[in-house]
């Protein structure tokens, strides 16, 4: 075996090596678009025009009004590892520009025909023509300040890649995605796009995310989103998210930028979605647009060839911050469903700071001195209050009512009030359920509720499944304020009960809750708390059909306003529906 076989390993010609490397950066036309727009933005452009032909398979042209390049730089720019954006590895930490590898132009150049026109100022500029990675010629031209890069016949020399290109429509859709995400990342830049000569998108520079979304998806869509804006530690979370009541009604979109860079990150998206828990049905996903800003050294952007992913130094607190920020956005009355088209912001006036004294919520108190209905006789106008032989002290002064609008009960089911921009309806059961749910959750997670001892203990006879459910959650029932003795077999003696509101029927609540919890699988502690709190809240809440007094309505309004997620009940239904004057006027043909 002395015959040497030819060597099997050979160093590739550099052109081939460049082509392979290019595959990492330039996968399809949309990645070309992405790299070119990023370069334009890095050059400080305030306006970017994109022209596409045949889904980018024929031509991709991106023009900007950025800083441009000198003739020497224009040639250097096409070299591999040629970049103006970093000088050393240390610069990578906290790098703010989109580009930093010096790869993109070289990679594109190696698999296409490329023309680069650039001028650092209006007037004298440079035209560089290249193909397959080789510069064909460099010539002076006259043009405006800025740069135009034209990539044509992409992958003309890479048949394997060419074969994998999809039809022009499908490539176009991918391009639209890329442009959309860039347009959301940099709202301040004017963007126009043509496809096969037809204008497809023209976005003026916008001041806000909402404005930009309105330009892309329409004002109705943008108007219904809720503002997120929260600073938690060094993390700033801002953006717009979908109202829970709208979730599932239209295409779901998710956009996330981290330190000004559009990225994909399932962890963050999941954290944002977690904030919707208990407000939307399982399985549907909300639309979210979030800008996350973290300390520059808290994130590594150089982990993905297309920079589509980033790595966080400490992910857990970040995700908590995001969940909290979104939860806070959902936790305003504003998050209630809107009927009609226009959007308005309803910020319930917060109680005046001096109002440290409790607002008189006699209605949801265990029988306050103001005993509703005790001597309620048929004809209320002829009723005088019962006399007190002992000349009782006068009733407490009426509560400050300035911060609660007049409420009307409709259909014994809804409370209605008027607001500057329209009328608002609150579902009394859903609202009360939400109030109680949050209160019970607080109790379960943070300790015990007061237990009112009963004069006459209640005896409950349970079926085997209910007894089992009780044994499993016994300790939680006690934390909620029940004092229950097992009496052997399936008999319970209830000696003390919580008093979440005066209409509370503890016996029925315990029975129905246990019936609902039978067969529950063992779950995590938090999940069990949520399940029990939601079940008890549902069973304990006032029902549709219950007549509410003005005092009860006021108390419910206040309690609801103070919840974290007033706009949604624990089943994800809306508790609040807003009907705007616009909509009402429209229906009456006033506009």
């Amino acid at each position: 075996m002395s015959v040497a076989s030819p060597p099997r390993i050979a160093v590739l010609p550099s052109a081939v090596a460049d082509q392979i490397a290019a595959g990492e950066v330039v996968e399809r036309p949309s990645s070309v678009v992405k790299e070119l727009i990023e370069n334009a933005l890095d050059a400080g452009a305030s306006s970017v025009d994109v022209a596409i032909e045949d889904g980018g398979r024929q031509t991709i042209r991106v023009s900007d009004d950025g800083c441009g390049m000198s003739p020497d730089d224009a040639v250097l720019a096409l070299e591999r590892h040629a970049t103006s954006k970093i000088r050393s590895a240390a610069d990578l930490v906290g790098v703010r520009s989109f580009g930093f590898r010096g790869e993109a132009l070289a990679a594109m150049c190696s698999v296409s025909h490329l023309e680069l026109e650039t001028a650092p100022d209006d007037g004298a500029g440079t035209l560089v023509r290249a193909a397959g990675g080789a510069i064909l010629d460099v010539s002076p031209i006259a043009r405006r300040r800025g740069t135009t890069v034209r990539i044509s016949r992409l992958f003309y020399n890479a048949p394997a890649r060419l074969k994998f290109l999809r039809g022009s429509r499908s490539e176009w859709r991918a391009i639209v995605e890329v442009i959309g995400s860039m347009a959301l990342t940099r709202r301040d830049v004017r963007v126009s796009v043509t496809n096969d000569g037809k204008p497809m998108l023209s976005l003026p520079a916008s001041a806000t995310l909402r404005e930009r979304l309105a330009a892309i998806y329409g004002g109705a869509f943008a108007g219904r989103l809720l503002d997120v804006d929260d600073v938690i530690g060094t993390t700033h979370v801002a953006g717009l998210v979908e109202r829970p009541s709208d979730v599932g009604t239209a295409t779901r979109r998710a956009f996330l930028s981290v330190n000004g860079r559009a990225v994909r990150d399932t962890g963050i998206v999941r954290a944002a979605e977690a904030a919707y828990r208990s407000t939307i049905p399982a399985g549907v996903r909300p639309t979210i647009f979030l800008d996350v800003t973290v300390a520059a050294d808290a994130v590594d952007v150089n982990v993905h060839p297309a920079k589509a992913e980033v790595r966080f130094r400490d992910r857990w607190p970040l995700e908590r911050a995001i969940e909290n920020a979104v939860a806070r956005a959902l936790g305003t009355f504003d998050a209630g469903a809107t009927l009609g088209r226009s959007h308005w912001t309803f910020v319930p006036p917060s109680p005046p700071p001096q109002a440290l004294a409790p607002v008189d919520v006699e209605a949801l108190h265990p029988d306050g001195p103001d005993l509703e209905g005790l001597f309620e006789i048929s004809n209320n106008d002829t009723l005088e209050p019962p006399p007190s032989p002992a000349a009782p002290a006068s009733a407490p002064p009426p509560a400050p009512t300035t911060d609660v609008p007049p409420l009307t009960q409709l259909h014994r089911t809804y409370m209605l009030f008027e607001h500057e921009q329209g009328v608002v309806l609150i579902d009394q059961h859903s609202a009360h359920e939400r109030v109680l749910y949050e209160r019970f959750m607080g109790t379960l997670e943070r300790g015990e509720a007061p237990a009112q001892r009963l004069l006459f203990p209640m005896t409950l006879h349970l079926g085997p499944a209910e007894s089992e459910a009780f044994e499993r959650d016994r300790e939680l029932f006690e934390r909620l304020g029940f004092e229950i003795d097992g009496f052997g077999g399936h008999t319970l003696i209830v000696r003390a009960v919580p008093m979440p509101h005066p209409r509370f029927d503890p016996e029925r609540c315990v029975r129905e809750t246990l019936a609902a919890l039978t067969g529950d699988r063992d779950a995590g502690v938090h999940a069990r708390h949520e399940r029990l709190a939601a079940t008890v809240a549902c069973k304990a809440a006032i029902k549709g059909g219950d007549l509410l007094s003005p005092g009860e309505m006021r108390a419910l309004y206040i309690a609801l306003r103070d919840t974290k997620l007033p706009a949604h009940d624990v089943h994800g239904r809306a508790t609040i529906v807003q009907l705007t004057w616009d909509e009402i006027d429209r229906r009456f043909g006033r506009r």
Binding site: P369, L374, I377, T382, P387, A451
Partner: protein, 370 residues
């Protein structure tokens, strides 16, 4: 039917009856007042099917007869009439004319046959009680009834009648009020009745304190009658829970406090107490009662009150509103509180009450957290 009545008499009669007319009803005739003209005068009646009130007023009856008239409209008309005699006549079964001075009204009514019959209560087996005694029991106990629909029995006031005494008890299961007083033997059968507070309120409203009331019991109704006015009520079916068993007999810690001062301190504490539970803590020590309240997200408060206290020190939690409410009805300047343990019933009674009646209120504590 045709009669003439003074404007004042008409107003007086209507005032007695309209309170028993339901504000909303699915049975239209219940919104009407039954007007019956007899040789003696006229009788006005109203009912919501649970309670019925009927009263007689003097009138000059020309022809006897009866008809029902919308109560609300008739009262409004009577209120606005000029001071002159009122002539009312039925025209057929459903029409009424009303004339007063130069005013003339035609009103649509409903035939008397549609008006429900009164409960069958026979006054030939009646007994007598002074209205003032009854009213005293009512006003000290009926505040304590439950307003929840879940236990209808507790929606009523238990009225226990014995040969030598009578007693009323009301509770919502968290606190209880009980008053009893000796009575002259009336020959009444010993009986326990659970009376809707609405009916008791009518008694309190309609009968002057010094009137002797005739009282009679039907199958499941009760009737109260004075010479001109009668109230009938449905009774709630028992049995009433065994309240005697829960009234503590061995409370060995006793405090005597000034009622007004105690009330003021409690009211100060409720400002900081939780809106839901009104929970406050009371710590009894020789000579001193300390109050404290802590409410997360709101704040805390403390107070002190000198009291006469005997027994071991005690820390106990209450819904302050229950205490305040009971204190309103304690008829003396000082109140006597007794306790056994933090999870056992506390009692409140008048201290130094020179009265044949005896009064006791009971309040169940709230669990304290430590």
């Amino acid at each position: 039917m045709r009669f003439t009545i003074s404007r004042e008499k008409l107003q007086e009669g209507l005032a007695a009856v309209t309170a028993s007319i339901p504000a909303k009803t699915t049975l239209p005739v219940l919104a009407n007042i039954l007007v019956e003209a007899t040789e003696k005068g006229i009788r006005l009646s109203g009912t919501d099917l649970d309670i019925a009130v009927t009263t007689e007023v003097a009138a000059d009856v020309e022809t006897t007869g009866a008809i029902t008239i919308p109560a609300k409209k008739l009262s409004e008309i009577a209120r606005e009439l000029p001071p002159a005699p009122v002539r009312i006549a039925a025209v057929g079964e459903q029409r009424i004319t009303l004339d007063c001075g130069r005013s003339h009204f035609k009103i649509l009514g409903l035939p008397r046959d549609e008006f429900p019959a009164f409960p069958n209560v026979k006054f030939n087996e009646s007994w007598r009680i002074r209205s003032g005694d009854l009213i005293k029991l009512i006003s000290h106990t009926s505040f304590a009834v439950s307003t929840e629909e879940s236990r209808p029995i507790l929606n009523g006031v238990l009225w226990e009648l014995r040969p030598e005494m009578m007693r009323m008890v009301a509770t919502n299961g968290h606190r209880l009020a009980k008053m009893e007083m000796p009575i002259k033997s009336t020959g009444a059968p010993a009986s326990d009745m659970i009376v809707p507070p609405k009916a008791l309120e009518q008694i309190r409203r309609l009968f002057p304190e010094d009137e002797e009331l005739e009282i009679a019991k039907g199958e499941n109704h009760l009737g109260f009658r004075s010479p001109f006015t009668a109230v009938f009520t449905r009774l709630i079916e028992g049995p009433y829970p065994p309240y005697e068993q829960v009234i503590p007999k061995d409370n060995n810690r006793v405090a005597i406090a000034d009622r007004t001062a105690l009330t003021s301190a409690l009211r100060r504490m409720t400002i900081i107490a939780s809106d839901q539970t009104h929970r406050i803590r009371m710590s009894f020590n020789a000579g001193m009662l300390k109050f404290s309240v802590q409410t997360p997200d709101l704040g805390e408060a403390n107070d002190e009150l000198a009291v006469r206290y005997t027994g071991d020190p005690l820390d106990i939690g209450f819904n302050a509103n229950y205490l305040l409410e009971v204190l309103r009805y304690i008829p003396t300047d000082e109140v006597r509180l007794t306790f056994k343990a933090p999870e056992r019933a506390a009692t409140l009674e008048p201290e130094g009450w020179a009265d044949p009646a005896s009064y006791l209120c009971l309040v169940m504590p709230l669990r304290l957290l430590d």
